[in-house]
């Protein structure tokens, strides 16, 4: 997919995530906005998946280890045809299958149930080792938050994945620098992230989470690296593309009220209209 189409798709994912959180009056908009471009590139260019056969054995897998950003994942799955777009507004509703955190048993296209931080990436390593055992060449991606790196088992798994040479595993760290209680450097610093992964014997690439050329190059680097898992440290902006949410830790787990929603929706709609005009003109 070309970069303009990816931008359009990412914008639609952000709008779905915003709609979901607003409809539920709860959820996690900040981190959902920061991973929207990563999801667009994975689902619409990089990953071998089939919406009509979500359990296809040879598919590439994505584990959203930072499961609280389910609104963005549901947005991507809706755009990719795994779930109906109109279901998004049922997010967190008792009558809906779209749980507050991803549930692999309820949602087509969700490869692992996540929500408890640190666990998803370890399951992703399990999938990667299964591929090796079966001599299948699917790839496994895991998206982690930078605050999530404070969970000890992330580093248990960092040892594990390198020790077992899981070069079919790519971890993408959504490095927006913020967690619930504030700046990651102030709360409990996981910095320097790149040097930590290097010390754990990973292939490390730093990328811009909102620049498709940069992300694409990082993912290609991961595919070409043999014998080591890859960590992509994706520098991102929490709340990206919604002016009042950008770089605000307060938007980690709060839903916008009606007034704030109207402003945010207008900003995303305007951006989408501009992108589509560029495409058509």
């Amino acid at each position: 997919m070309n970069n303009l189409d990816l931008k359009i798709t990412a914008c639609k994912i952000r709008k779905h995530a915003l709609d979901a959180v607003h409809a539920a009056k709860s959820g996690h908009p900040g981190g959902s906005m920061s991973i929207a471009d990563i999801l667009a590139l994975l689902y619409f260019e990089k990953m071998k998946v089939d919406a009509s056969n979500p359990n296809w054995e040879l598919r590439d897998r994505l584990v959203l280890s930072k499961g609280h950003c389910a609104p963005a994942l549901y947005g991507a799955l809706a755009e990719a045809g795994f779930i109906p777009k109109e279901d998004i507004k049922g997010f967190r509703n008792i009558r809906s299958y779209l749980q507050g955190h991803p549930d692999m048993k309820k949602v087509p296209g969700v490869d692992m149930s996540t929500g408890s931080l640190g666990q998803g990436v370890c399951a992703a390593a399990g999938m990667a080792i299964a591929a090796k055992l079966d001599r299948k060449n699917y790839r496994v991606y895991a998206i982690l938050g930078d605050g999530e790196l404070e969970e000890g088992q992330v580093w248990e798994n960092a040892m594990f994945a390198a020790h077992h040479n899981l070069d079919n595993l790519t971890v993408i760290v959504d490095n927006n620098g913020l967690q619930i209680d504030g700046n990651i450097a102030d709360v409990m610093s996981p910095l320097p992230i790149d040097k930590k992964y290097e010390a754990f014997n990973w292939n490390v690439v730093v990328a811009d989470a909102h620049d498709f050329d940069s992300l694409r190059a990082a993912l290609e680097n991961a595919e070409n690296c043999k014998g080591k898992p890859t960590a992509i440290i994706a520098k991102s902006v929490k709340g990206k593309d919604i002016s009042f949410m950008e770089n605000e830790a307060g938007w980690h787990g709060n839903a916008p009220n009606d007034e704030q929603y109207a402003i945010a929706a207008e900003e995303l709609d305007k951006k989408l209209a501009e992108l589509e005009a560029r495409k058509n003109g």
Binding site: D103, K105, S113, C122, G126, M127, A130, N157
Partner: protein, 313 residues
């Protein structure tokens, strides 16, 4: 009853025996010599994964393997499997109901000299509280082997509890094992002893002691603690009117609690629970510890007499 073997030995041997099924992958957390998964490792090195001393990671790796069609056996001591990695088992294995088997060895006080930090007396309580979890606690090596086979055939999470200590063989080679079924291994009409794991052998000894006093004690082997066999418990209540449970576990949350729940709701009768009395263990030889914490045939027999007395008065 001549043969003496630890259920963990049977676990390792069973993994190696049934490991010809290529879906089976065995994980361990640096305890393969103690959990006996090294027996599998020698035979199928390519399907043995050492996770190192990192149980939380191991459980979630197992979940990922299961999501791709593997049948992973994640092995460690009961303390670190059920205890340390409880939340990983809950959220990454049981919540998505993935086909992970947890092989937990060194359960209970019979771990001995290592002391309280390694004597897990809470694992059954923890695992019972998880929706969809099956809990198997075999009494001897014959049953342990069959429990591994049944776990492989069962689709869903399964917690297998094994002991460190060599125990007498109770069952013949033609013994039939079925998940969810208790087995009456001795007939009796005055009282029923429902036992699990290593305590089954002690329950049989207690029944012999009672017989010498003219008391007819029924003995039920409850290898599956979840789902519990309601029918055999209700039948015992109606036919013998007095029940004693015996387990190498805290009396809170284990077999005794599971039996009490069934009795209270469906067939109340006099009941006594044998187990550790909400305390931690300590270092010592297993036989000394059984005495210290009241896990002996004599204590079971005494409780059975008390239960019969209360039933009749």
């Amino acid at each position: 009853m001549a043969d003496k073997k630890a259920t963990r030995e049977a676990y390792g041997a069973a993994l190696a025996e049934f490991g010809v099924d290529e879906r089976i992958v065995v994980l361990d957390a640096d305890l393969s010599k103690s959990t006996k998964t090294d027996v599998f490792k020698k035979k199928f090195p390519e399907r043995f994964i050492n996770a190192g001393i990192a149980e939380a990671d191991m459980m979630c790796v197992a979940a990922g393997l299961a999501s791709c069609g593997k049948i992973p056996f994640a092995s460690s001591f009961a303390m670190f499997a059920a205890g340390r990695a409880f939340e990983q088992i809950r959220n990454s294995i049981c919540y998505p109901h993935l086909n992970v088997k947890i092989g937990a060895t060194h359960a209970g006080i019979s771990v001995g000299e290592d002391g309280a930090t390694h004597q897990c007396l809470e694992d059954i309580a923890l695992m019972r509280s998880l929706p969809g979890m099956v809990i198997l606690n075999p009494a001897d090596d014959v049953e342990a082997r069959l429990a591994v086979k049944a776990a492989i055939e069962h689709d869903g999470p399964c917690y297998l509890r094994f002991g460190r200590l060599a125990v007498d063989r109770i069952f013949d080679v033609d013994y039939k094992f079925e998940i969810g079924k208790g087995v009456e291994i001795k007939e009796g009409k005055d009282v029923t002893i429902i036992a699990t794991g290593l305590m089954v052998g002690f329950a049989l000894e207690a029944a012999k002691m009672l017989e010498e006093d003219g008391i007819s004690a029924r003995v039920v082997n409850m290898a599956t603690i979840k789902p519990i066999d309601r029918d055999i418990i209700i039948k015992a209540s109606k036919e013998t009117g007095a029940i004693v449970t015996a387990e190498e576990h805290n009396i809170i949350g284990g077999l005794g609690s599971a039996v009490a729940e069934v009795l209270c709701e469906s067939a109340p009768c006099v009941m006594k629970r044998i187990g550790t009395k909400d305390v931690f263990g300590r270092s010592g030889k297993p036989a000394e510890l059984f005495e210290e914490y009241g896990l002996t045939p004599a204590v079971i027999a005494k409780s059975a007499k008390q239960a019969i007395y209360e039933k009749e008065n």
